[in-house]
């Protein structure tokens, strides 16, 4: 459950990662993916909308730069698989885009901006099961803020961020929000 509301404006909170630090974190994660998947063979990067998708694209671009390897990249919407659908009004769906060839037998790296309760990732695993049978599934997140409610952990973490549950972590990316920054603020649990 990522706390990434769209109405930011003034009381932004404290910047914990700036554009340069985000860039470095993604570069490191790209290297780690290459290491842990034996050179990125059969890897597909699947971003979870909204902000997981541009992150997955950036990782794919990095891997392309380092190894000259074209890693397929797509998006996986988890809305219809969430366990909190009935707690709020029905929401608009995100896009699911799979690379041609599907996910069967591939190494899937799920990409999201913030790892929090783990419920989004649980939904993503369910959604993925309906799409095929990958060989392995891994998880990459830009920020891990703790407070897991399910037995889920990330394989690649940009930054571990100890937070209180009353704080809001907001990831902003230039593709979506016009700038790259990770903010932490005291606004109560919004998402």
């Amino acid at each position: 459950m990522c706390a990434t509301g769209s109405s930011v404006a003034g009381r932004d909170g404290l910047a914990v990662l700036d554009a340069e630090e985000i860039r470095r974190a993604l570069t490191r994660i790209a290297h780690e993916i290459l290491e842990r998947t034996h050179g990125g063979e059969e890897v597909i990067l699947l971003g979870i909308p909204t902000r997981g998708v541009p992150l997955a694209r950036r990782l794919a671009a990095r891997i392309g730069e380092f190894e000259g390897l074209e890693v397929p990249c797509g998006s996986l919407d988890v809305t219809m698989h969430r366990d909190d659908l009935r707690l709020r009004p029905a929401r608009a769906l995100g896009r699911t885009d799979l690379p041609v060839g599907g996910v069967d037998g591939k190494t899937i790296v799920l990409v999201d901006d913030v790892l929090y309760s783990g419920r989004t990732v649980r939904a993503a695993l369910d959604a993925l099961t309906d799409l095929g049978r990958p060989r392995t599934v891994q998880l990459a997140v830009l920020v891990d803020r703790g407070h897991r409610e399910l037995p889920i952990r990330a394989d690649y973490v940009g930054k571990n961020l100890p937070t209180s549950q009353r704080e809001v972590v907001r990831v902003m990316l230039s593709e979506v929000d016009g700038q790259d920054v990770v903010l932490i603020g005291e606004e109560g649990r919004k998402s």
């Binding site: 919407d77 219809m80 698989h81 659908l85 009935r86 707690l87 709020r88 009004p89 029905a90 929401r91 608009a92 769906l93 995100g94 896009r95 699911t96 369910d126 309906d130 799409l131 095929g132």
Partner: protein, 317 residues
């Protein structure tokens, strides 16, 4: 979006676009190995059909099942309605069995509206008399948008698209819902029909009216043929079927007068040889089979948006 879907007029432009965009995302489900989503697990949808229907009932049933809802089908034939049970009592019985949504088709205009006042769950109008059929209008709008605007059209309306609706407007709930919805989405709608088959006060509808189909064809992007509803006709609305067919039927010669990109639609069931010629119905420009497929997707979107969230969803933000 409101709790019920009774009339296409209940939908704001934002609501209608949300439904179309949701349907667009759900359309990819048809290509997947598992054509099912767990979203409405544990919810019950009742199909309450007092009038005969093939595609609408099966379409709603398929839509509800693909979202994992439980479906109870009810048709008036062979039920206690035959013993004289009223609509209200039937509805309350179904409600007591725990339905979360009722999809109703009834021969009386306004039946869905009355039902909405009696039951707790959502009511979806699947055609009430000669009044409205909003999900048909939604699937038609979805089909038009996909065909003429392509499939990556999130948030796009139908602005500037010229739609000509031809034939038995008087008895057609499809025509009324389509005029309301398509004009909400920005399309320019023209009704082409004999004066006897146009409803009273049609000049207050948000559309133009013409008696001459041939004049409208060259400037139409979409031609929507309506079924001549013989079963609702208790008077002579036109001299003969043959004369109707010659003046308002769509045959190959008339289709040739359409612009190259134009599409031909029909809500079904068709009277081949009356309002539409067989070779037109089977041509590549005809979207009739596509409309059926899109019907399932669009109805999934409607059921998801009505039932997927909290009990009283306020969808449009």
């Amino acid at each position: 979006m409101k709790r019920h879907l009774i009339s296409a007029a209940d939908l704001s432009r934002a609501d209608a676009l949300l439904i179309l965009d949701t349907a667009e995302e759900l359309a990819s489900l048809a290509d997947r190995p598992i054509k099912k989503l767990p979203t409405l697990r544990g919810r019950t949808v009742v199909n309450l059909f007092f009038e005969d229907s093939t595609r609408t009932r099966i379409s709603f049933e398929a839509a509800a099942k693909r979202l994992s809802a439980d479906v109870i089908n009810f048709s008036a034939k062979g039920s206690s309605v035959a013993k004289g049970e009223s609509l209200k009592d039937t509805a309350l019985t179904l409600e007591a069995m725990g339905s979360d949504a009722v999809v109703i088709r009834h021969s009386a205009s306004g039946a869905a509206h009355r039902l909405a006042g009696w039951v707790q769950g959502s009511v979806v109008n699947a055609g009430d008399g000669t009044h409205e059929h909003p999900t048909q209008a939604l699937l038609d709008a979805f089909t038009i948008r996909r065909r003429l605007r392509g499939s990556s059209t999130r948030g796009a309306g139908l602005d500037g698209i010229r739609v000509t609706i031809v034939g038995d407007v008087l008895h057609s709930r499809v025509a009324r819902s389509n005029v309301l919805l398509l004009s909400t989405l920005g399309a320019e709608v023209t009704l082409a029909a004999p004066p006897t088959l146009l409803p009273l006060a049609v000049e207050n509808w948000p559309c133009a009216v013409s008696y001459d189909l041939d004049r409208e064809l060259p400037k139409s992007d979409v031609v929507m043929m309506l079924r001549v509803q013989q079963e609702r006709m208790n008077a002579a609305y036109f001299p003969s079927v043959r004369e109707y067919s010659r003046r308002y039927g769509l045959d190959a010669a008339r289709m040739a007068r359409l612009p190259d990109h134009a599409i031909v639609m029909h809500p079904g069931p068709m009277n081949r040889g009356v309002e539409i010629a067989a070779d037109v119905a089977d041509s590549v420009r005809s979207t009739i089979v596509e409309q059926v497929a899109n019907g399932v997707t669009t109805r999934m979107a409607v059921l998801y948006l009505l039932l997927g969230g909290t009990e009283f969803p306020a969808v449009a933000q």
